[in-house]
């Protein structure tokens, strides 16, 4: 709905006459204050990741970074608590990319079939896919776990990825986009001699590039931030993803947590998605607005 309109209106609107002098500074002050509050937890985590354990366990901890940055991050990345964080980062990367890539591929194909063909059972398939919109993995964890265990896919990338790629949101997004592609393009391609798959590759796919990129950003975040599912099916620490692995770093019982390493891991866990979101902000917002429409 909104991003095109927002683009159209370059100059900001309301405020007008009031927006002068003091009022403007006040507005900035509010925004800076808001950003500081929202940012504070991340800042604190960063500070904690650069100081020593004793500095943390004798509160209050400092609010300015210390000199242990390299020590803590090196320890986290290469030894971690149960398993090196580098391993978990790699697992998360595989899972996030696998989910994003898998979802995009199967939804592109199924949306193409639904929009550009008439075939027996089309409406049934359409509604079956539609129904999957209603079933987040959290709701059916136990039986899904049993299925994955039955396939022997515990502690495997397949087990991490496959159950999460079949949601219908991406299919609907592509369907919506394909509907806006003029019919004449497909007809022109037909007259030009393109068979369906040729049309898909030469025309539809390149035309969907922006949508695919936007969706990739959203799905990457979605995959990276998964928690419950990897928690269930990766019992082997070697297969832990970073987001779920952090919880495993907390000791059971009364032992004191290794806060600097845990906080360094938290920072490491948020860096990839933050980079993706901030660097592809435009695409990300577009993907967000489109996929939730």
């Amino acid at each position: 709905m909104t991003h095109s309109a927002a683009k159209r209106r370059k100059e900001p609107a309301p405020g007008m006459v009031e927006k002068r002098g003091l009022g403007l500074w006040f507005t900035h002050a509010i925004m800076i204050f808001g950003v500081l509050i929202v940012f504070f937890p991340i800042w604190l985590a960063f500070v904690a990741s650069t100081i020593t354990q004793p500095e943390i366990v004798s509160p209050p901890m400092p609010l300015w970074p210390g000199d242990q940055f390299f020590t803590n991050y090196k320890k986290a990345l290469f030894s971690g608590v149960n398993v090196p964080v580098a391993t978990m980062l790699f697992n998360s990367l595989v899972m996030a990319i696998g989910i994003a890539f898998g979802k995009i591929v199967i939804s592109l194909l199924s949306a193409f079939a639904i929009v550009y063909f008439k075939f027996p059972g089309k409406m049934i398939f359409f509604w079956l896919i539609f129904l999957t919109l209603m079933l987040p993995v959290e709701v059916r964890i136990v039986p899904t776990y049993q299925v994955v265990a039955g396939f022997g896919m515990l502690n495997s990338y397949g087990g991490l990825i496959l159950p999460l790629i079949a949601s219908a949101t991406a299919t609907f997004l592509f369907r919506q986009f394909f509907m806006t592609v003029p019919d004449e393009l497909a007809e022109a391609a037909r007259v030009d001699g393109a068979r369906p798959m040729r049309f898909f590759w030469d025309i539809l796919f390149p035309m969907s590039r922006t949508n695919i990129a936007a969706l990739f950003v959203i799905l990457f975040i979605y995959g990276w931030n998964q928690y419950l599912w990897p928690l269930l099916i990766t019992t082997d620490p070697e297969m832990n993803t970073i987001v779920m692995g952090i919880k495993q770093m907390f000791p059971s019982g009364d032992d004191v947590a290794d806060w600097p390493v845990i906080m360094a891991t938290s920072i490491l866990a948020m860096i990839p998605p933050v980079i993706v979101v901030v660097s592809m902000q435009k695409l990300f917002i577009r993907g967000l607005v489109d996929s939730e429409k």
């Binding site: 909104t2 309109a5 209106r9 900001p12 609107a13 309301p14 405020g15 009031e18 927006k19 509010i30 925004m31 808001g34 950003v35 991340i42 904690a48 591929v105 199967i106 199924s110 079939a113 639904i114 550009y116 063909f117 075939f119 089309k122 079956l128 896919i129 209603m134 079933l135 987040p136 959290e138 709701v139 059916r140 964890i141 136990v142 039986p143 899904t144 776990y145 049993q146 299925v147 994955v148 394909f178 509907m179 019919d183 497909a186 369906p196 798959m197 931030n225 998964q226 928690y227 419950l228 269930l232 952090i246 919880k247 004191v256 806060w259 948020m270 933050v274 901030v278 607005v289 429409k293």
Partner: protein
């Protein structure tokens, strides 16, 4: 809304749609059916056989005070998360919309928390409020307030609400900001000419124009609070103290995987399924209507 169907054949489209249908069948429909089926049985204490109990699991659940309490907890939790994540977001968006320059920079900063996984957000907030090392809890202690979310259910609830809302503020901010940017400038100017001051304009013009976005976000945030906050709760409170933060999704997990009560867990899944279904239909009805605007 049908496309002029332009390609012939039925084998190709069936092949195209097959991956999605197969993945959905294996990881969605089969587990969902299993959930329904298992909800009608209770396993014997040794897990060797299942005993048919019909709707017994449901009857038991609905009369189980813990389950009812979990329903109530979920309700309170989702309402609080929705409010705590939407009101600051709207406020910041309105303020940011008044800026001619710099709004984009603030937006970039405010996006960050969205990229942070709920589970990581849980760890960050847990760190701040940790009863032993937390900075915030230490300062609260200095002010004479003895913070202890490990023992105090209300404080635990407060903490999981704030941690869950934190990342959503970014999300809601993006939507509100985009919606505000697309409010036609002429409408605002007309109101200004009519003599409406900023807050008057906000209440009488801007807020009503934002109502589709607001309503949409309400639904989406409730869905989020229901199903996607597992990571926060698992990392911060693990449902405690005394089940005071055990929301429905968490209970499915703890009864199914920790308590190994498969029948009850399955019955809970089925109930959740109905809840999701209702929310999805509600959301879709709403989306459909929005299309006509």
């Amino acid at each position: 809304m049908e496309k002029r169907v332009t390609f012939k054949g039925w084998l190709l489209p069936l092949c195209l749609i097959a991956p999605q249908v197969i993945v959905s069948a294996i990881f969605f429909f089969y587990p969902a059916a299993q959930a329904v089926w298992q909800s009608l049985f209770i396993p014997d204490p040794f897990g060797l056989s299942m005993q048919w109990v019909g709707l017994g699991n449901f009857e038991y659940l609905l009369s189980d005070p813990y389950y009812r309490a979990s329903f109530l907890t979920t309700g309170i939790f989702s309402i609080l998360v929705t409010l705590v994540s939407m009101i600051p977001a709207l406020f910041l968006a309105v303020v940011a919309d008044r800026l001619i320059k710099g709004a984009g920079a603030y937006r970039t900063m405010l996006i960050w928390p969205y990229a942070v996984a709920p589970a990581i957000a849980g760890v960050l907030w847990l760190f701040m409020f940790n009863t032993r090392v937390g900075v915030v809890s230490w300062y609260l202690g200095n002010l004479g307030y003895d913070w202890n979310h490990v023992l105090n259910g209300n404080e635990a609830m407060g903490l999981v609400v704030v941690s869950s809302s934190w990342g959503r503020i970014s999300y809601n901010f993006l939507f509100f900001f985009a919606a505000l940017q697309s409010v036609p400038k002429s409408v605002i100017e007309a109101a200004a000419i009519d003599g409406a001051r900023f807050w008057k304009r906000f209440w009488t013009i801007v807020l009503p124009l934002l109502s589709p976005t607001t309503f949409f976000l309400l639904v989406v945030n409730i869905v989020y609070a229901f199903f996607e906050t597992f990571g926060v709760i698992h990392t911060i409170t693990a449902g405690g103290p005394q089940q005071s933060t055990t929301i429905l999704v968490y209970k499915v997990f703890s009864d199914g995987f920790v308590g190994q009560d498969l029948g009850s867990s399955a019955a809970q899944s089925v109930i959740l399924l109905v809840v999701v279904g209702a929310l999805t239909i509600f959301q879709f009805k709403f989306v459909e209507r929005r299309v006509h605007y």
